[in-house]
Subunit: 334 residues, 3 copies
């Protein structure tokens, strides 16, 4: 019996994605979408979490099930993720056993495993997430990997709908300054989700902060098919007419794994902070961010606390889209 994983929104066609978000909207409106009575979802965290941790716990409980958390390296053993190694170091447990054994206890597994930030080609392989998907016998949900954060993308699509966006609506995903080189999973996922949604997506970023070329090319191809578009620019004039300004920082792929070089690149752009002046250039655009967000670094208090800020709505939508996803992945097919 084959199992369904959810590793990227790219696992679903644009139509299937639309249906999943439809279900999330109906669940949010109070419709009964089914139950997961007695089921347990195991959540494996290699990294911290607030929204993911709580929204999945509440989602499972509202559906009649439960979550069980494993915080790797804290409450549970450090996990080796590479194949074929001689395990004589500081990681006593292998992913192969962890995934196989947990599959005997739980009905699904969520995995959060950021990249190592040393080598983009390595991180791009998403080996921890992919390893769990390969060795688990139950559906695996990506709770944010080195490459993708698809549950965030689902919540964003629902939010775009609620904000009245449609195929062809203009969205600006803007890079911002941040004191550290952050992972790429959210921008990758937002770009792909916008393409699947059919948005006119502009990525506003300094020249040195391009996203992965292959992922951008793939998202562009998707956009071609859905009637959307994908362009990149460093010109803030692209804000004109935007319905959404989605802010996010990420590290430079030009200097991935070399923190000093990367910090020098990033340091030139400390003025890349979303302010009210930015928002005024849009078409009454909404402000979005995946959270956590650094106030007055990534975005001003003024914008974040304004009526244009959709961040709390966006975070709430994690709950609803994840309930839809869980019903789809763990529910009994009729």
């Amino acid at each position: 019996m084959s199992k369904s994983d959810f590793l990227s929104t790219g696992d679903l066609s644009p139509a299937a994605l639309g249906q999943l978000v439809d279900l999330a909207a109906r669940l949010k409106a109070g419709e009964d979408g089914g139950r997961l009575e007695g089921k347990t979802l195991g959540l494996v965290f290699f990294n911290p979490s607030l929204r993911t941790r709580v929204s999945f716990a509440v989602a499972m409980r509202q559906l009649g099930g439960h979550v069980t958390n494993l915080d790797v390296g804290q409450a549970t053993w450090a996990i080796e993720t590479r194949d074929g190694v001689v395990m004589d170091g500081d990681r006593p447990e292998h992913l192969r056993e962890a995934a196989a054994v947990l599959s005997r206890y739980v009905d699904g597994l969520g995995v959060r495993a950021f990249g190592q930030g040393q080598c983009w080609m390595d991180d791009r392989a998403d080996s921890v997430l992919q390893g769990f998907a390969r060795h688990a016998a139950v559906p695996v949900i990506n709770l944010e990997s080195a490459v993708w954060h698809p549950c965030q993308a689902l919540a964003d699509i629902l939010t775009w709908r609620e904000l009245g966006l449609k195929r062809g609506s203009p969205i600006v995903l803007t890079w911002t300054y941040h004191p550290r080189a952050l992972p790429m999973a959210v921008p990758n996922s937002v770009v792909l989700a916008a393409a699947q949604f059919g948005a006119r997506m502009t990525v506003l970023r300094p020249p040195e902060f391009a996203l992965d070329r292959e992922l951008v090319t793939q998202a562009g191809a998707v956009a071609d098919r859905t009637g959307g578009s994908l362009v990149e620019t460093h010109d803030r004039n692209c804000l004109a007419g935007a319905r959404v300004v989605y802010a996010k920082s990420w590290g430079s792929l030009q200097a991935y794994g070399t923190p000093e070089t990367e910090a020098a690149l990033r340091g030139r752009y400390q003025d890349w902070k979303v302010t009210q002046e930015w928002m005024n250039r849009t078409n009454e655009g909404a402000f979005m961010h995946c959270l956590p967000v650094r106030r007055n670094v990534v975005v001003s208090d003024e914008v974040l606390d304004s009526a244009a800020s959709a961040i709390v709505q966006q975070a709430e939508n994690r709950l609803h889209v994840q309930k839809a996803l869980l019903l789809k992945l763990l529910g009994v097919s009729p």
Copy 2:
């Protein structure tokens, strides 16, 4: 729709407090006080916990709901609590977002946030707890802040009742030695609760270990209205006739935030340890402490393991008073 928080027993009138403890007593006796089916309480811990963590989990489950825990800085992001700051340090998440987002997932929030121990005027503002109360859309329960530990106080009132104490009964809250300068939340709460209960409360302490003057004045004013009283002394003769000896250590406000100076003040009073000799001077008094307690530093094994020790009963009562509180705050009004 306004929400009810529980930040201090001072949020309730003495009469309302009495009714809440009445309900707790009835729940302890097995009465069905209502259900919180399907509700989730989020517990945000900035500090460790044993009794609070387990008693709230069991309380919610016995009422049909659940808790979800967030251990700040461990399993979840470090949280910035100051307003208006440029968040370029080591705390990626702001309390404003955490409180607002969690309010979309859970039905109530408990928050444990001790003070920083640097400046009493700062800690006295209880800014983390107050920030959650201000920015959460759901009821907030104080699980011990810099200033108050009201759930402990509720349990203590129920215990006083069970021990047969009435309005006018004499209670001694005694300072004890301890190797570290401990927070003031428990003594503050016990003094206020005793005033609300109408006890004759004596605070037995070395001269340098006065509680906050304003809080003592306020508690004294409450005692005047309830028929109780509040006096402070360093004379152990006050033990004569006491029905309860409540032991607790706390740091000196005279040297708050200057550990060496404070330790020198404290070091003079290593003989402030409750022994059987102390207990013999009382009127068959019970021994109370909020736990955790350092054996043979704060109190002798002999006293702690004697029949006069009410500490386990006191800790058990956390469960019952919290069930009453949860029903009041999260329950559907008829």
Copy 3:
């Protein structure tokens, strides 16, 4: 009212142990063995856990109850376990209070407390586990102590049965190399369980890695009564005919608490790794290990990923035997 603890399989007669594993097998086959509706099991972890943590959570939920976890020294206070001490160090809570208070909240307690690895005579007293058993008013389950891991042993017995083993079947428990001196709880428990099961158990180990003499003598006496046997050897010819090769590393009791000396003893035996060549010498033997296992140190990838590997089945059986145990300890007697 007396309470039942489960600290070692030795707490049960061979017949009672057999009945418990019978029940586990029936539960695994889908039989309804009863419910623990509304009950809470508190799990106190002094050490990390994966299988134990998740399998107990799922076991309780499948029976209608819940677990509540306490990670000592992380989310909860560090716990002093010695009696009679002056608690002026870094452990603010005493086991006596922790056990007594938790007993007022939960219906049973699981405790994981490895030894300190300093002095075997001290660790052998299993004082943390024994302290919880003595001071808790509710049943205590050993989740792995310095001396025993009886839940693992229960799972192993069920696995032996499923593999077709019977009284008199030959099992080899083989020591293996490992980069650190590991605890003795699993080998102790496997040896005792094999004796209770009536297996012909051979402990294959280097001369310096004998198990505790008294425990071996006791297990041998049990084997005499059940029709089993227990021998020790360093000769790998014992693998001939074995139905199970159970691999496990442990530290040398000759150098307990002196890491450098112990490492020198251990270092001579880096070739003690289970390979296919070992397995080929058996009677189509199954490979077992309690997990986590260090691949290519303790056992080769080839063996671990072969059809002969029973490790996942063995880990799954933790769930079933623990459900049986929980029903026995926490269920209402008819």
